[in-house]
């Protein structure tokens, strides 16, 4: 997915002279041709993430649209205050592309783990967060973001998940999803006769959590969430309230998502009988784990209703 997105950005640079790409010493090889062709608009800024985010805010205030690419913990954790103040508070729009969220760099240890990027960004009102499931979807989302030049965050995962390949599932058109940016997609089980069990997947890493595949097989419907914004919370809470049992699979720190969903669900008269969240247990995994092992061994269940 990384290479696909960087290739797509290299093509977009040709067409849009308002784009400036800042690399935090990552993706330099993939962007080498674009750097050569547009040396003033593709910069390897180096490993100074706070300054790089501040610099990007200055680019935005000078009427350019910066795309910043680096490793998640160094961008989102280290430069958190710059994202909060220089970008969001000062209304300087930028696209942050982060690689290595959650446990993508699992074997490199806790210094390179970042399962809390999304919850931290939601807590400072970041308006558009995305974790595409497939390469094709990642390019579609990128194109829309570049078209609108919004404040945006794309978390590029090393996993991919194409739920349409599950033979028992059939995609249904959601009325709420006719806008340009598709937040969520719904699939129903061909064998299902009722609205009993709904499984919701937040990003492609969901499939790595314990028993996820069994839950999908056992469900009446599956919803995949690719984009997290205000509209998604509205649309998703309405879907949740159509089912008796809901299992939400969030393969990262889930507190902000749970909080925002629950505050909406509580306003409905008829709620599901049970809502359960599967998510990784927060800890410092201080051994050379494989990504899948962290998710499988350390899945935790939190009961909402």
């Amino acid at each position: 997915m990384r290479n696909t997105l960087l290739k797509s950005i290299s093509e977009k640079i040709n067409l849009d002279n308002k784009l400036i790409v800042l690399l935090g010493d990552l993706g330099v090889f993939q962007m080498k041709d674009a750097m050569k062709k547009y040396p003033s608009r593709v910069l390897n800024f180096g490993v100074m993430e706070q300054t790089m985010i501040g610099f990007s805010a200055g680019l935005a205030s000078g009427n350019y649209y910066p795309i910043i690419y680096s490793i998640t913990p160094f961008l989102v954790d280290r430069a958190y205050e710059q994202i909060k103040l220089d970008l969001i508070y000062n209304k300087n729009n930028a696209l942050i592309l982060s690689a290595g969220a959650s446990y993508d760099y699992s074997t490199l240890g806790p210094t390179h783990h970042c399962p809390h990027d999304i919850t931290n960004l939601l807590s400072i009102n970041h308006p558009l967060i995305s974790h595409p499931f497939t390469k094709i979807e990642s390019v579609n989302i990128l194109n829309l973001i570049l078209q609108n030049k919004e404040q945006a965050y794309i978390r590029i995962s090393s996993s991919e998940l194409d739920i349409s390949k599950y033979s028992k599932l059939e995609k249904v058109e959601l009325k709420s999803q006719k806008a340009n940016l598709i937040n969520l997609e719904k699939f129903i089980s061909k064998n299902s006769l009722s609205n009993d069990k709904l499984v919701i997947l937040f990003g492609p890493d969901s499939i790595l959590l314990k028993d996820c595949v069994e839950h999908i097989k056992d469900s009446d419907a599956v919803i995949t969430v690719s984009v997290i914004n205000k509209k998604m919370f509205k649309d998703l809470s309405e879907e949740i309230n159509k089912f008796k049992r809901v299992l939400i699979i969030i393969p990262y720190e889930p507190s902000q998502i749970i909080f925002k969903l629950v505050s909406r669900i509580n306003t409905f008269k008829n709620k599901p009988n049970s809502i359960l969240v599967l998510h990784p247990k927060p800890d410092f995994y201080d051994s050379s784990y494989e990504k899948i092992d962290i998710f499988r061994k350390y899945t935790e269940e939190t009961k909402i209703i």
Partner: protein
Amino acid sequence: MKELGLNISKKRMKELLYENTINILKKATEVKAGHIGGSLSMSQFLLPIIYSLEIENKFNYRILLSKGHASLGFYSILNLLKINEKPFENYCTKKSSSFHGHTCKKSFNKLIASSGSLGHGLPIAMGFAYTEKIRNRNIPIICILGDGELQEGTLWESLLHIFNMNLNIKILIDFNNSIETNTSKIDEGIKNLVKTSDYSAHSYKDIKKAINLITSQGPEIIIFRTTKLANVNSYESKPQWHAGIPNLDELNDMLKKVHIRLED
């Protein structure tokens, strides 16, 4: 580019500095808010600079107060020179149109960012200056830092790029020497790394030299030697007046002791 001058007489500038000092002290006491120390030390050089750029030369530039806590001083200058009176009038009031205690970009159309958290201003200024460079316009951007702020790592990171990229940034350092940690030789560190100009904010001749540097191309670092409450006899350099608010008795005493130090 033509050299900018400062043609207003020293006597008249002293009168403006006097009025600005009185206004800052009274406003802070009235609204019980504001960092009077940094506001006064910064005003000593920024008032003549803004006077030259805005009133005498109608010069095109952008500005960013990285030491955003000196907003009271900045708003007081905008008010005194009748550039925009609203931020000063509404400084820390309870009105919905009020301005809080750090600089807000809606206060002035040449201000490129709202600021307050130290270490944020220079990277933003650098990004803006970069856009000017690639457009071949090179409008200078003035970024004001405090000497305490020089401890922030983003300043040093930014310097690595600013000189390599030859950006048209004018870094003005309000060196009021009030850092209480042991980094008082931090100015020597910068001088060892890059070219700097070292001026007294109480010398009219030095301020004029600094104004001329603003029209030169490329990065400039100007260290202005200042003192907090330098123009209020017996209150100079006391740490309590960094963010301390005078009570009415203290205000009255301060007002009697205002004496503007501005040499030739």
